[in-house]
């Protein structure tokens, strides 16, 4: 993974000094609330229901064991012994004190971490596929590009005060696992007939109040032009994006208002002044970025040991293998997904002890590296099959081996009304009630892959629009209700926003409603057909009739 040199280190160290001073001036009354607000936001600090919340950046989800231990230490020292992994591959602490935040940032800087631009109206953490670099179906590894974009976007002087937040996702595979068409900019790596790499550039996707699917603005952009082209997009947005209404300020609204052709023309008009400027990438620079993401020292064709036997002998282990491991380009290895979706634990939450354990296991079994997925799980990307059993035992003993990855109970869920000041409704207890309802594993497996996404309000941090089943907390005359939508999905070619099923429902009715939806699926599915495919084949009506009968 990427390693800081003196330049990168200096930048985060100086950021700590700057933020300490800003916070001190605020606490001394020399900075008004409104002036401090964007400064702290650009350092990931929100004032939430109970306390400030600190969001720490995990660039494109990559983390090493030393960093994970530092997160555990912060949870223990400054928080209530846990942390929360987010749908944007970052991590949040829910209970730090504002006065402590400069110290926390100083601690993070010692392990090459920061909270820069994790919030605020600026370019946020770039996200990608959690299996980048190990997937067999990859055009090329997206991570070097993520790092190039990370550096370019960090304290970009022109784009620190955009109309609204700006999120970029990059996918290196044909099967899009980064939901690129639901980002402000989605970059799809492609290869042309000559075998040269390029980017298909999608702009104007997003969730929130107005879910829109990103449109293709530039096909097969030559890679050396990536930064100047992004600069042109951002410049058009900075200049023409709406600033009069925060709900209309995302770039998607601008793209929609202008139409994608007119938008693309404006970008092209701006780009002509930027193309071939010094920000143009050279092969040397691209290769240097790629050199940070070379394969670890895999063993060639390692023995699988007793793997087959262990699997035959132990049903629980076998279930884990089926559900929580992903094929690897390297023979004898798999990627292992640790589930942070154990019933009764808020999705994405981990304790300090679990984080320490995960760090140790990463050192022992996976070259000391970890990844966070936008599904809010943790991945050990390079585990030998022969060591899988021992790893599973350690995970199982610590509540990290729930064999539900990709299944209904592996839901994406925002913190909701228990923590978030913006929420209309709670999400965590409802998620738990659904998990309890579907606790029969065999039934769960029979249902196959189903994405259930849950947001506590229209801000859609839980990506409810692109859940096969989406749940949204709404406020009805001061009461917490939930709106159910079906049929959403990510994916480059089949991206789709879920359709609202009908009137919102009371909390107690949600597990029943989901069960009814699932029954309709089971009754109607063709052999091997996924939930979302059945839904699109038979349509909404049958589901609606059953739920509202």
């Amino acid at each position: 993974m990427y390693k800081y040199d003196d330049f990168d280190q200096k930048l985060v160290d100086e950021r700590v000094i700057q933020f300490r001073d800003q916070t001190q001036r605020y606490l001394d009354g020399k900075l008004a609330d409104t002036e401090y607000l964007p400064l702290r936001l650009q350092n990931g600090i929100y004032i939430q229901k109970h306390a400030p919340m600190l969001r720490v950046a995990i660039p494109y989800g990559m983390l090493n064991s030393i960093q994970m231990r530092k997160l555990a230490h912060i949870a223990r020292t400054y928080d209530k012994n846990y942390a929360h992994f987010t749908t944007r591959q970052n991590v949040q602490f829910n209970w730090p004190e504002l006065k402590d935040t400069p110290d926390i940032l100083a601690e993070l800087a010692t392990v090459q971490m920061h909270a820069i631009q994790t919030s605020g109206n600026c370019i946020r953490n770039t996200t990608t596929d959690q299996f980048a670099g190990i997937a067999g179906d990859e055009v090329t590894d997206p991570r070097p590009w993520c790092e190039i974009v990370r550096q370019w976007s960090t304290f970009h002087p022109e784009f620190a005060f955009l109309p609204r937040k700006f999120k970029i996702a990059i996918s290196g595979t044909t099967e899009d696992r980064a939901a690129i068409r639901f980002h402000d900019v989605g970059l799809q790596l492609v290869k042309n007939e000559q075998g040269e790499i390029g980017f298909d550039v999608y702009v104007g996707g997003g969730l929130g109040r107005t879910p829109l699917i990103g449109e293709l603005v530039k096909q097969n952009l030559a890679p050396q032009h990536l930064l100047t082209y992004l600069e042109a997009i951002l410049r058009v947005y900075n200049q023409f994006g709406r600033r009069d209404n925060k709900y209309k300020a995302r770039i998607k609204i601008l793209v929609k208002a202008l139409g994608v052709e007119a938008f693309a023309e404006r970008v092209a008009a701006e780009w002509q002044y930027l193309v071939d400027s010094p920000s143009t990438l050279t092969d040397k620079v691209i290769n240097k970025a790629a050199s940070f993401f070379l394969d670890p020292a895999y063993e060639a064709n390692p023995s699988e040991g007793d793997f087959a036997q262990q699997r035959a002998d132990n049903k629980a282990f076998s279930r884990f293998v089926t559900n929580n491991t992903t094929a690897h380009k390297q023979a004898g290895y798999v990627a292992v997904t640790l589930s942070l979706k154990k019933t009764g634990v808020p999705p994405g939450d981990v304790t300090d002890a679990q984080m320490d354990l995960i760090a140790d296991l990463a050192d022992q079994y996976s070259f000391g590296e970890l990844r966070i997925s936008h599904h809010q799980n943790v991945i050990l990307a390079d585990v030998k099959k022969s060591e899988l059993y021992a790893l599973w035992q350690a995970l199982e003993a610590n509540g990290l081996a729930t064999p539900n990855i990709g299944k209904l109970t592996d839901m994406i869920c925002c913190p909701g009304g228990d923590f978030c000041g913006l929420a209309n409704a709670k999400s965590i207890p409802v998620a738990a009630a659904i998990q309890e309802r579907f606790d029969d594993l065999d039934y769960l497996y029979d249902l196959g892959e189903i994405e259930l996404n849950f947001s506590g309000c229209m801000n859609a941090c839980g990506h409810h629009h692109i859940g096969n089943i989406g749940l949204l907390g709404v406020d009805r005359k001061g009461e917490e209700f939930y709106q159910l939508s079906l049929g959403g999905r990510a994916g480059r070619d089949e991206a789709n926003v879920g359709k609202i099923l009908g009137p919102s429902l009371k909390q107690e009715l949600i597990p029943d409603a989901i069960e009814k939806v699932i029954k309709v699926y089971v009754e109607n599915r063709l052999d091997g057909e996924l939930f979302v495919d059945t839904y699109h084949r038979i349509g909404q009506e049958k589901f609606k009739e059953r739920v509202y009968a």
Binding site: D5, F7, D8, K10, L11, E14, R15, I17, Q18, D21, Q22, E35, P38, L39, N121, I148, Q151, W152, T154, F155, H156, P157, E158, F159, A160, F161, L162, L227, R235, N238, Q239, R243, Y273, S277, P278, S279, L281, T282, K284, V285, K288, A289
Partner: protein
């Protein structure tokens, strides 16, 4: 007399800002609103010197080429959190090759000076209720920048990875 930061020094300033619907002063050095200046309705011979200030929704087109001859252009930041002025500054410097004084006016606060300077401003009318000395001292919180900009023509990667 009010003062500003100009090229890293605190200096007296006697440019008079004419607001969009404001009265013209009798003489002296004036910063005219860009639309008024474009209109050609002002008798510029009445003044010692003429500069222009740009509202931040200005779109620079062919007409902006004439700005080049001015001794000072100011860009307005009605609130510091509206970042359009950064783009205008870069366009003036990079596209229109403007070389003289480029001044940030309006809600100009110390925590944004670094970004402004990188985008090509060399002059800062710090908000009157804030300490201009403290602002000057805090102008450069970072000694490293990743991007190419007006203060650093090459991106960091060209320096360390080329």
């Amino acid at each position: 007399m009010p003062n500003i930061i100009l090229n890293g020094q605190i200096v007296d300033d006697n440019w008079q800002l004419v607001s969009l619907d404001g009265e013209l002063p009798a003489g002296g050095k004036v910063l005219l609103p860009y639309p008024l200046w474009l209109s050609g309705e002002v008798d510029i011979s009445a003044f010692e010197a003429i500069g222009v200030w740009l509202p931040n929704d200005t779109v620079l087109d062919e007409q902006a080429k004439a700005l080049d001859a001015l001794p000072v252009i100011a860009v307005d930041f009605p609130v510091f959190s509206d970042g359009r002025g950064y783009t205008l500054a870069r366009q003036l410097r990079e596209r229109f090759n403007f070389k003289a004084e480029l001044r940030a006016i309006g809600d100009v606060l110390q925590d944004q000076l670094f970004f402004m300077h990188r985008c090509g401003f060399n002059s800062f009318a710090v908000r009157a209720d804030r300490s201009i000395e403290e602002a000057l001292a805090a102008m450069k919180p970072f000694s490293v920048s990743y991007q190419a900009a007006l203060d650093q023509p090459q991106p960091l990667f060209a320096q360390r990875w080329a």
